[in-house]
Amino acid sequence: MSTDVRLRVDGVEVVVPAGCSVAAALRLAGHVSTRRALDGGGRGACCGMGVCFECRVRINGVERLGCLARVADGMEIVCDA
């Protein structure tokens, strides 16, 4: 659990602790808002348990929920913020 994981967020390399969620990794990397709502407002993780879908991002090209996904080496994450 103590090892680190390297992933890319919007093209920028980020190093985060293994075992954390993608949502946590994005927050650790300084992203407060991870998508834009229809009115342009920023949104970020909210329910934490895969219900509200606010933390959705593209992981390796597929839309996934940041709160349910675990980080993995080489992950490519794209936000819509």
Partner: protein
């Protein structure tokens, strides 16, 4: 498409689902346990799989490890292609599971209610922020207000504090009289009483205010402060995060999709946890919010019954009855106050996915009408958040969900099934 077959499919690997799967196997049936999280434990036992500190969690997670129950994680149920043929979606693509009997243990979600600013990044569910933190979300040094209603607020605050956050206050909307009656009602439940006392101990020095609720969250790109009302006084509190939840709501979508009868927002079951639909059992929070003890007792009953072992040992019947009384105590003393219906203004977003304003939703007659007129509840979350809010705000009953239950790639529905794998028995 990958396909598995099993005798009993258990959906949801929280306490109820784990107890159900393990008990079904003990009674001689084959069970497959599936959950959308990366590991078992549900919300309440999150993080316990690799480091169990809770006694019941250790007992049941050890039992799961040692049992022949097959498990698959990271898979969300999105549809039934036919009765007894569940379709899951996960990072490795879709999976179909053929089963003879089904146990739904989908748990509960938090009730989130709209107020100005509730969509700002930095505003979370109370249990929501708690589980985010358990999965590595950083809160050390942050100033956090915990608000809403129910015993979960204490547990959330304790987790946040342990993770290094500065919990500024816990604002409970329930009044002092009801809280005192709730505390008195815990007397027949020594386990719960000890738990509450231990939590209070871990929260020494944190202000616990009853009759108090957050009226507004303020900030431009992120939360900067909240306005807290306590009786007639209003106070602005600068903070980095707000963790706010108004109790729990059963996740009934799967049971509803299958036609199970609901009453008061929970699935109706008999003493064997059998729903109104043949071959479908339900256990835990989806049968009514009652906590982990109730979930374990019901899961055990459901697992045994689904495996064909109908008799319920006396100890189990006693556990069910006692936990049902606790559930009643919870409901009675944490009723939501009317003022919470007045927080949203005309422009407050009610449906977070489709950005439907409160005023536009309020002009509709029902959730279905609001769907047709405004697209409320038709976005990603499929009314999981605004549906429960609309129920409280307008007295709407939840519209029947339609498949898919969550956004899913088309391959879930189009890909032909490959040769069914032999019955899943190994633990993944």
């Amino acid at each position: 498409m990958r396909e598995l077959s099993t005798e009993i499919l258990v959906v949801g690997a929280g306490p109820a689902g784990i107890a159900a799967a393990v008990s079904a196997e003990r009674a001689g049936a084959r069970a497959l346990l599936v959950d959308m999280q990366a590991e078992p434990g549900g919300q309440i036992w999150r993080g316990q799989w690799n480091n169990a500190t809770d006694r019941a969690a250790r007992r049941w997670l050890t039992a799961l490890r040692g049992s022949p129950v097959a498990t698959r994680y990271g898979l969300r149920l999105v549809d039934f292609a036919a009765p007894g043929l569940a379709v899951f979606d996960g990072a490795d693509g879709p999976l179909r599971v053929r089963c003879e009997r089904l146990i739904v243990a989908a748990g509960a979600r938090e009730r989130l209610l709209p107020f100005p600013g509730w969509t700002l990044p930095g505003v979370f569910g109370a249990g929501g922020l708690q589980v985010l933190v358990k999965n590595g979300w950083p809160v050390a040094g942050q100033r956090i207000v915990v608000a809403g209603s129910g015993p979960l607020l204490l547990a959330a605050a304790a987790t946040l504090r342990k993770a290094g956050a500065q919990v500024l206050c816990i604002a409970e909307q329930t009044g002092a009289a009801d809280l005192a009656r709730f505390a008195a009602g815990l007397a027949p439940h020594p386990g719960k009483w000890l738990q509450a006392a231990a939590l209070r101990g871990r929260l020494a020095g944190v202000a616990y205010r009853c009759n108090a609720w957050v009226e507004r969250a303020e900030g431009t790109e992120r939360l900067e402060s909240v306005r807290l009302r306590a009786g007639r006084s209003v106070e602005r509190i600068a903070c980095d995060a707000l963790a706010v939840g108004f109790g729990l709501v059963p996740n009934t979508e799967i049971a509803q999709l299958l036609g199970c009868e609901l009453r008061d927002g929970a699935v109706v079951v008999d003493v064997h946890q059998h729903s109104s639909v043949a071959g479908i059992y339900c256990a835990g929070e989806i049968c009514g919010i009652g906590g982990v003890d109730q979930a374990l007792a019901q899961g055990e009953v459901a697992g045994r019954a689904a495996a064909g072992s109908g008799e319920r040992p006396r100890a189990l019947r006693r556990d069910c009855a006692r936990s049902a009384r606790f559930a009643q105590t919870l409901r009675r003393h944490f009723a939501l106050r009317d003022e919470l219906r007045e927080l949203a203004t005309a422009d407050t977003v009610l449906c977070r996915c489709e950005n439907v304003r409160y005023a536009d939703a309020a002009a509709c007659r029902s959730q279905r009408d609001a769907r047709l007129q405004t697209r409320l509840g038709m976005g990603h979350c499929q009314a999981r958040i605004c549906g429960a809010a609309g129920e409280f705000l307008f007295g709407w009953t939840a519209a029947t969900p339609r498949p898919p239950l969550a956004p899913a790639p088309l391959t879930c529905f189009t890909e032909p099934t490959s040769d069914p794998e032999p019955p899943a028995q190994e633990s993944a």
